[in-house]
């Protein structure tokens, strides 16, 4: 059940600076770079690091040096994304963008990177933090955050949904389909996948 053999599901690896890149920017969803997000022997100082404090009392970011070892802290993920969009719009070729965090965060970063013209070869992602999934109801288009079970009730349309391993990087979400569409009421027990 936890591996449905579907090849669209992303796989992740710990990060190390891509030697072919010229600038290395790492954005993380937490206040610190999670240790498990970095490859063995790699220190956060190999990157220019952006973090999220999740508190309001973060002083506004001073004019920072855009170089390895510098750290900028943002108040929220939204705050970081707004700065990231501005930064990518004035970047030049040679940038490598790295992200560490939960899966929905990673692909939200990817959406912004792609919009700015970065390709998959210029980005790298490490999964860190909770494994809960963002799930898209294919019937009513409602997104549900933090889904940890194989089957859940859609808050949008009330359907009992089965979460497939089919993953859309554009939506940063897994697909869910009604589990009892053929015989209404025939709903198997939900399995806890990411307790």
């Amino acid at each position: 059940m936890s591996d449905q053999g579907i090849k669209s599901r992303p796989t992740y690896a710990p990060l190390a600076p891509d030697p072919s890149g010229r600038h290395h920017l790492l954005v993380v969803e937490a206040a610190e770079v999670p240790a498990e997000a970095l490859a063995e022997g790699i220190s956060p100082s190999a990157f220019e690091v952006w973090t999220v404090a999740r508190r309001s009392a973060v002083p506004s970011v001073p004019a920072m040096e855009e170089a390895p070892g510098s750290v900028a802290t943002f108040r929220s993920v939204t705050h970081l994304f707004s700065a990231l969009e501005e930064r990518l719009a004035r970047e030049t070729m040679g940038l490598r963008l790295y992200a560490a965090g939960a899966e929905p965060f990673l692909w939200d970063v990817w959406g912004r990177a792609q919009k700015a013209g970065l390709s998959r070869q210029e980005t790298a992602f490490a999964e860190a933090g909770p494994k809960a999934r963002r799930v898209y109801c294919v019937h009513c288009r409602t997104m549900s955050e933090g889904i940890t079970t194989s089957i859940f009730t859609c808050p949008g349309c009330g359907a009992s949904l089965f979460v497939r391993d089919h993953f859309s990087r554009r939506l940063a979400a897994f697909m869910a389909v009604q589990v009892d569409a053929e015989v209404p009421g025939e709903v198997p027990d939900a399995e806890e996948l990411y307790a």
């Binding site: 579907i6 669209s8 697909m175």
Partner: protein
């Protein structure tokens, strides 16, 4: 012979869709031999071959008007069934040109395209359309160029962008699909898009098919046949509407199996487009009931043998286990065990009454 259109037939609710005997014989039966496994069964899409469905680049049959009406209905209910990412605009014009020129060349009695430089006029007689527009100026058409022309063609279409040694499904008109969602899949790479298909990845089918398609040449389109089964002649078996059509599957009984269960064939065609270097992928759906298949001796023997021996993972992926055995039981007494000729041709000229 001029085809007699059947504009009133339906693909939902009343399901009045029926095949004429001539239409049955031009069905592109998908099994060239008595067993089935995934393969890269790609061949050049040249006019001619074992079925009349290969006579034109974009096949128009007696269901043309009814299918275009069904498409319009699906789009009215769910406009997201047609989406094209902004960088594919050039591929949209390429597609419009490719489809209009081929329809006009293959069916001059139905379609006419005249050009005066960039000022084009398109006439579609079956649908009663006459449209003048400027090629390359989207604002001169009532909708985007890709949507405009694919509303006037049978079957689904997707647009594949080629970059990073991969193909990305960056646009589509998808209203007659075998259970995949454009809204979910748009933007995916070739492997991601095909992610849910079992066994084929392990056999290297997609890696080989991708390498081949990356080299697909302009002017040398290719085709393949794919198949599944559908209960009732329903074109829109989308995941979006699975709660609507899913219960059909449980409605099959030994008494109604031959009429209800349809072999659903996709004639998939792939065209390299000139300006954009994108690939236009046509996924043309043909539905034929098991009862109609049974009217062709070679086809009924072969369908029986294929379904009887089908790999269970493939059956599950195609969503047929609920009624597979009923179809096999229906066809078994109609299979006299005699040998079948290789290839997909029906081997008969006329359907016996």
């Amino acid at each position: 012979m001029t085809v007699q259109f059947k504009p009133a037939e339906t693909f939902r609710d009343t399901f009045t869709y029926k095949k004429s005997p001539e239409d049955l014989l031009r069905f592109p039966f998908p099994f060239p031999e008595d067993s089935y496994m995934y393969s890269v069964n790609i061949e050049p899409h040249v006019r001619g071959g074992p079925t009349a469905a290969f006579q034109a680049q974009f096949d128009v049959d007696e269901h043309y008007i009814a299918e275009c009406k069904e498409r319009a209905r699906v789009l009215a209910e769910d406009p997201k069934r047609c989406q094209v990412l902004p960088h594919m605009l050039t591929a949209e014009w390429d597609s419009l040109e490719m489809i209009m020129e081929n329809l006009a060349a293959d069916y001059p009695e139905h379609f006419t395209l005249s050009k005066d430089g960039d000022a084009w006029t398109w006439v579609n007689r079956p649908l009663g359309i006459q449209q003048s527009f400027i090629f390359g100026k989207a604002e001169t058409l009532p909708c985007g160029p890709f949507e405009y022309i694919t509303r006037q063609a049978q079957g689904d279409f997707t647009l594949q962008d080629q970059r990073e040694d991969n193909l990305f499904v960056d646009g589509g008109m998808v209203t007659t699909q075998a259970d995949w969602s454009l809204e979910f899949d748009i933007g995916m790479s070739f492997q991601e898009w095909h992610g849910p298909v079992p066994l084929a990845h392990e056999k290297g089918v997609f890696d080989r098919a991708l390498k081949y398609l990356l080299r697909l040449q302009y002017g040398q389109p290719v085709r393949r046949l794919n198949w599944t089964m559908t209960v009732n002649p329903r074109l829109d078996t989308s995941p979006e509407n699975y709660p609507v059509w899913g219960p059909d599957k449980a409605s099959v009984t030994p008494e109604n199996v031959a009429e209800k269960v349809h072999l659903r064939v996709e004639l998939q065609t792939l065209y390299r487009l000139p300006r954009s270097n994108a690939i236009l992928f046509g996924i043309r759906c043909y539905l034929t009931s098991v009862a109609d298949i049974a009217k062709v001796p070679k086809w009924r023997r072969r369908l029986h043998r294929v379904l009887r021996d089908l790999h269970p993972d493939i059956a599950t992926y195609k969503g047929i286990p609920r009624y597979q055995q009923m179809v096999v039981d229906y066809l078994a007494p109609l299979d006299d065990g005699s040998a079948t000729s290789p290839g997909i041709a029906p081997d008969i000229e006329k359907i016996e009454a």
